[in-house]
Amino acid sequence: MPESNAARASPEIGPNAITARIWRRPPLIHNRTLRWACGAGAFMYLTLALASLHINWRRVYDGIERGWRLIQGFLVPDFLSRWGDIAVGMQESLTMTVTSTLVGVLISVPIGIGAARNIAPLPIYFLCRGIIAVSRSLQEIIVAIFFVAMFGFGPFAGFLTLSFGTIGFLSKLLAEDIEDIDESQAEAIRATGAGWWQLVNYGIQPQVMPRLLGLSCYRLDINFRESAVIGIVGAGGIGATLNTAIDRYEFNSAGAILILIIAIVMMSEYFSGYARKWVQ
């Protein structure tokens, strides 16, 4: 422990403790006024926030019985009575995940290259960074609402949403990766008189490929999770099936769907971790 803490704490102890100096834990915020202000502010905010919560305890009490039924639905999942719907939803989710990841990766590679400051000219750099910023700041569910309004209900809108999300995610990470490469290798390729394409192909691509593959696997995993959500606003997939099951209070089917989602998410997380270890 630094001595300064003991020194700082000692004046606060009082006149009776002069003979034995007692160590005190240093406070999180050293400035006493600021400490009190933060405490009072937090207390006031909490009071106001809790006061505006308006919990309908009667409704919550009624809900306990439903919550219990939901837990029972988890323990006794019913895969069979809605199996047709579940199978269609799963099929849509899985195909949507695969196609959107592939298309998203294909589009994000050129954008990622364009957004890397060390190989792209300035106008292209700003354009690509702009595309990335737009794609990252829009939440997937809001994008899904717009695509559903434009392209109609169903997995096609979901496919577009997930591809759009993939572009922002992958291009940004790819661009950062290209900016972090070992310059000497690129320099060596440049010294042979290689053109820009040859530079990208021989100097940069081998360096970023393992991480690009790893990130694509990770994004595949994310896209499946998202595909379970965007169905709520009509973009197809297992989320739509889940929404229907909950609306009908069929908690056993809902439990079955949730168990399937958790199982697939865990499996894909495991495999994407394994794949990332394998390529790196």
């Binding site: 999180l28 905010y45 926030a49 809790l50 505006s52 919560l53 308006h54 919990i55 309908n56 409704r59 919550v60 009624d62 809900g63 439903r66 919550g67 939901l70 099929q91 849509e92 899985l94 195909t95 949507m96 695969v98 196609t99 592939l102 700041s137 939440q139 569910i141 809001i142 609402i145 717009f146 309004a149 434009m150 392209f151 109609g152 169903g154 997995p155 096609f156 496919f159 021989y202 999770r225 998202e226 379970a228 959500v229 709520i232 606003v233 989320g239 889940l242 929404n243 909950i246 209070y249 809902a254 949730l258 989602i261 958790i262 998410v265 865990m266 997380e269």
Partner: protein
């Protein structure tokens, strides 16, 4: 080095023949998988709707501008709700996630065989369900409103905070813990004086980071009825009031930008 013989002269090649073949086979497999998935996915797609999309897009953007700024005062109460959902949800999550993290970390768990798997299971279950799905479930259970949103955010955040925190706990410097143990401190005192001070900055960073994500998520939780700005968004979408939708989206953007700024500042200060 992979080379090919061309008229008794060695020519450098990018890849060895076997590797080249493997590459082509994997590309072929990937393309076939894509074609197969595409056909399954689009078998029920109404292509007339898809071809109609540019016209729809033009129509919607036409209706979206100019944004209905007069609608803004109505959004202040939902904005307050949204911030409360994120903040209270994060606080509840922290209260539950901290003990779970200590139970899950290999160096602080009371029993690696019994308790640790249970804690890890809690983390995985909480993490693999999106907060919108938690919201969907909770709205049916406790009824629509802010309370359902708070609980949904809390349930989703437990796994996130606990996972990052237990990883931070596993990475601490063991010598400090040894030093506290050597003074004859009890188990709890070792945690309090040996472990907690080391993970406190990481903990503050994780919490603020999650709060930032939660602000983002709580803006759309209302789509399933869990209160906040999303409720207004849903209402405007249902009545096709696109100019109001623009206003709501602008408010969401501004809120998310401010929360990101706060979170970046705080993380910069503590780490």
């Amino acid at each position: 080095m992979p080379v090919a013989t061309a008229v008794n002269k060695l020519v450098w090649r990018h890849r060895a023949p076997r590797r080249q073949l493997a590459l082509w086979v994997s590309w072929f497999a990937l393309v076939s998988l894509f074609v197969f998935c595409w056909r399954v996915m689009t078998k029920d797609t109404m292509w007339s709707f898809v071809w109609d999309a540019p016209r729809q897009a033009a129509d919607i953007s036409d209706r979206m501008f100019p944004p209905a700024l007069r609608y803004f005062p109505e959004l202040l109460a939902p904005l307050w709700d949204t911030i409360n959902i994120a903040t209270l949800g994060t606080l509840i999550a922290i209260v539950i996630a901290v003990p779970v993290a200590f139970l899950a970390a290999r160096n602080t768990t009371p029993s690696p065989r019994m308790v640790r798997p249970l804690a890890l299971l809690t983390i995985v279950a909480s993490r693999s369900i999106n907060s919108l799905i938690w919201g969907l479930l909770l709205v049916t259970i406790v009824g629509p409103g802010v309370f359902a949103g708070v609980i949904a955010i809390a349930l989703r955040s437990i796994g996130f905070i606990a996972k990052l925190l237990y990883e931070a706990i596993e990475e601490i410097d063991a010598s400090q813990v040894d030093a506290i143990t050597a003074t004859g401190a009890s188990r709890l005192q070792v945690l309090d004086y040996g472990v907690v001070p080391q993970v406190l900055p990481a903990f503050a960073g994780i919490s603020v980071f999650r709060w930032d994500i939660n602000i983002r998520e709580s803006t759309v939780l209302g789509l399933v009825g869990a209160g906040g700005l999303g409720l207004k968004l849903q209402a405007s979408l249902n009545t096709l009031a696109w100019s109001q939708v623009t206003t709501i989206l602008l408010v969401i953007f501004a809120t998310v930008a401010v929360s990101e700024w706060i979170s970046a500042r705080v993380r910069h200060a503590v780490i």
